[in-house]
C-alpha cells in the first residue's frame, strides 16, 4: 500500500462533505518530491479544503492522505503534530499572529518546536527575513505591513522549520505585479535551491504557469486533469478550456508563455 518511491504526498479516494454538501468526491493525486503542483478549479470547489485536509486540520470522511508514506488520517495527535513540522503553509490572508511582531511571528515555530536558543532563533529569523526581502520590518506588527509584505512574512514563517512540503493558498491573489513576481521567484528558488516540494492553489494564471512543474484541475470534487503545464494548457477537456480561455490573453497565448522553471 506504500506509494511509489519519490512520492512525497499521495491522496487516494479522499471524500469530504460539509453537512449534505459534497466538497471532495474521491480525490486521487500524487505529488513527487520537488514538484511544484498547482491546483486550479472553480471558486468554492474545495481547493482550500484539500490543503486543510493535507495539514490534518480537517478529516476526510473516507480515503487516505499519505505524507512520507504515513496516513495522516490515522496518525495520533503527537505524530500528526510531528508530521506538520515537516510542512509549511502560506495562507491567502497570511494568518500572522496579530499581537506579535514580524520577528516574533517568524520565530514562533522555532520557539515552540525546536531546541534552539534565543540567539540561534534570532539568527535564523534574520536570515529568513533577508530571503524574503523584509529585513527592515522585523519590529513591525502585521497590521503595519501591506498585503504583499504580510504574505512574504507568512512565507518566511512557513520556511523557518525547513519543511519538505510547502502549501500555498492563493499566494499572489490581490497583489501588484511586482509583489507577485517576487513571490513567484521565491517559490521557484525554494524548489531549485532548497529542494522543497510545493502545492499551490491559485487562480492567477500567469503565476501558475510561471512556477508549476505539474498542474491539476479540481472539478466537482474530483481531480479531472493532472498534467505538465504544456499538456494542461493544451487540454481539450471543455471545463478546463473554458477556465483557461476566461483569462484575458489566453487565446493569443499572451501571459501564459512563461518558461517552466
Amino acid at each position: 500500500m506504500n506509494p511509489p518511491a519519490g512520492n512525497l504526498v499521495e491522496m487516494r479516494g479522499v471524500h469530504f462533505s460539509f453537512g449534505n454538501k459534497v466538497i471532495l468526491d474521491g480525490v486521487d493525486i500524487s505529488i513527487r518530491e520537488q514538484d511544484v503542483l498547482v491546483i486550479m478549479g472553480l471558486s468554492g470547489g474545495g481547493k482550500s479544503t484539500l490543503l486543510s485536509i493535507l495539514l490534518g486540520l480537517l478529516k476526510p470522511s473516507s480515503g487516505e492522505v499519505l505524507f512520507k508514506q504515513e496516513d495522516l488520517t490515522k496518525l495520533s495527535r503527537p505524530k500528526l503534530n510531528d508530521a506538520r513540522t515537516h510542512m509549511g503553509m502560506v495562507y491567502q490572508n497570511a494568518a500572522l499572529i496579530s499581537s506579535m511582531t514580524v520577528r516574533e511571528n517568524i520565530g514562533f515555530p522555532l520557539e515552540e518546536l525546536s531546541d534552539k536558543n534565543d540567539q540561534e532563533i534570532a539568527l535564523i529569523v534574520e536570515q529568513k527575513l533577508e530571503e524574503v526581502g523584509l529585513k527592515d520590518t522585523a519590529d513591525k506588527l502585521p497590521s503595519e505591513l501591506s498585503g504583499g509584505m504580510q504574505k512574504r512574512v507568512g512565507l518566511a514563517r512557513a520556511l523557518v522549520l525547513e519543511p519538505e512540503l510547502v502549501l500555498f493558498d492563493e499566494p499572489t491573489a490581490g497583489l501588484d505585479p511586482i509583489s507577485t513576481e517576487t513571490i513567484d521567484d521565491l517559490i521557484i528558488k525554494l524548489r531549485k535551491k532548497q529542494e522543497v516540494t510545493s502545492i499551490i492553489v491559485t487562480h492567477e494564471m500567469e503565476s501558475a504557469f510561471a512556477v508549476a512543474t505539474r498542474m491539476a484541475f479540481l472539478y466537482e470534487g474530483k481531480i479531472i486533469l493532472e498534467a505538465a503545464p504544456e499538456q494542461f494548457r493544451n487540454s481539450d477537456i471543455p471545463i478546463v478550456r473554458k477556465f483557461l480561455s476566461s483569462f484575458s490573453g489566453h487565446e493569443t497565448g499572451k501571459g501564459l508563455t512563461h518558461a517552466n522553471p
Binding site: 486543510s52 495539514l55 490534518g56 486540520l57 495527535r77 503527537p78 500528526l80 503534530n81 510531528d82 508530521a83 506538520r84 513540522t85 510542512m87 503553509m89 495562507y91 490572508n93 494568518a95 500572522l96 499572529i97 496579530s98 499581537s99 514562533f108 515555530p109 520557539e111 515552540e112 518546536l113 522549520l161
Partner: protein, 263 residues
C-alpha cells in the same frame, strides 16, 4: 413549547460536552508536551495574562466592593436598628462578604472584564485564521492559547477575592462609623471574633471554582466563534452572560453543599 425546551436542553448538553472536550484535549496536549520534555506553556505568556487579570482588575474590584460593603452595612444597620441590634452589623457584613459577596462580585467583574477580553481576542484569532495557523504548525493551539489564560484567571481570582473582601469590610466599617455610631475598633474586634477560618475557606474555594468557570467558558466561546466580526460580538456577549449565570448558579450550589456538609 416542549420542542423549544428540547432544543434548549440539546444546546445546553452540546455546550457542556464541547467544553468538556476542550478541557480534555487541552489537558491531553499538555501531557503530550510534558512527555516530550517541553514546557507546557510559556511562562512569559502566563505572567502576561496574570498582569492583565490581576493588577488590571484591582481598581474596579476595590471600587465595587467598597460601595457594596458600604450599602450592605447601611441597609443591614437600618433594619437591625429597629430591633436594637445594630452591633450585629460587623459580623453579618464581614461573614456575608467573605463567604458570598467577595467571591461573587470578583467573579462578575472578571467575567465582564477578562472573560469578555479572552473571548473577543480568541474569536478574532479564529476569524483571522490565526488559530488554524498555529494548529497547522503542529504547536497545539488549545494548549498554547487556553492554558496560560485559564491558569492565570484560576490562580488570581482568589487573590482578587481577598482584596474584594478587605475592601468591602473597610467600606462597611467606614459607613458604620459614620452613620451607625460603630467605632473602627469595635468593628475590628467583632470581625475578628465572628469571622471564622471556615468562612474564609468557603470564599476562597468558591473563588478558585469561579476563576476556572470564567476562564474555560471565555476560551470556549472565543474558540467557537463563527461568522467574523458579528460572530465575535455575539460570542463575547454570550461569554459574559453564560459565565455570570454559571457563576451564580454554581455559587448557590456551593452554598447548599457547604451549609449541609460544613454546618
Amino acid at each position: 413549547m416542549i420542542a423549544k425546551l428540547g432544543a434548549l436542553t440539546i444546546n445546553l448538553l452540546q455546550g457542556i460536552s464541547s467544553i468538556v472536550w476542550m478541557a480534555r484535549e487541552t489537558i491531553s496536549e499538555i501531557g503530550e508536551r510534558i512527555s516530550q520534555h517541553r514546557a507546557p506553556f510559556r511562562l512569559k505568556d502566563f505572567f502576561y495574562q496574570c498582569a492583565r487579570v490581576g493588577p488590571g482588575s484591582v481598581p474596579m474590584i476595590i471600587l465595587l466592593s467598597v460601595f457594596v460593603g458600604l450599602t450592605l452595612a447601611l441597609l443591614t444597620g437600618y433594619q437591625l436598628k429597629i430591633f436594637g441590634l445594630v452591633t450585629l452589623v460587623p459580623p453579618i457584613v464581614s461573614v456575608a462578604f467573605t463567604r458570598e459577596m467577595g467571591p461573587l462580585f470578583t467573579g462578575i467583574v472578571l467575567a465582564s472584564r477578562i472573560g469578555a477580553a479572552y473571548t473577543a481576542e480568541l474569536g478574532a484569532m479564529i476569524a483571522g485564521g490565526e488559530v488554524d495557523a498555529i494548529e497547522a504548525m503542529g504547536v497545539g493551539a488549545l494548549r498554547y492559547l487556553v492554558t496560560p489564560r485559564v491558569l492565570a484567571i484560576f490562580c488570581l481570582t482568589p487573590c482578587l477575592t481577598v482584596i474584594s473582601v478587605v475592601a468591602g469590610i473597610l467600606g462597611a466599617a467606614f459607613i458604620s462609623s459614620l452613620m451607625l455610631q460603630i467605632s473602627y475598633g469595635y468593628f475590628y474586634d467583632q470581625v475578628m471574633t465572628y469571622l471564622l477560618v471556615k468562612d474564609m475557606m468557603a470564599g476562597i474555594v468558591k473563588s478558585f471554582l469561579f476563576g476556572a468557570i470564567i476562564g474555560i467558558t471565555a476560551c470556549y466561546k472565543g474558540l467557537s466563534v463563527r461568522g467574523g466580526a458579528v460572530g465575535v460580538g455575539t460570542a463575547t456577549t454570550s461569554s459574559v452572560v453564560t459565565a455570570i449565570t454559571t457563576v451564580i448558579i454554581c455559587d448557590s450550589l456551593c452554598n447548599i453543599f457547604i451549609v449541609i456538609f460544613f454546618p
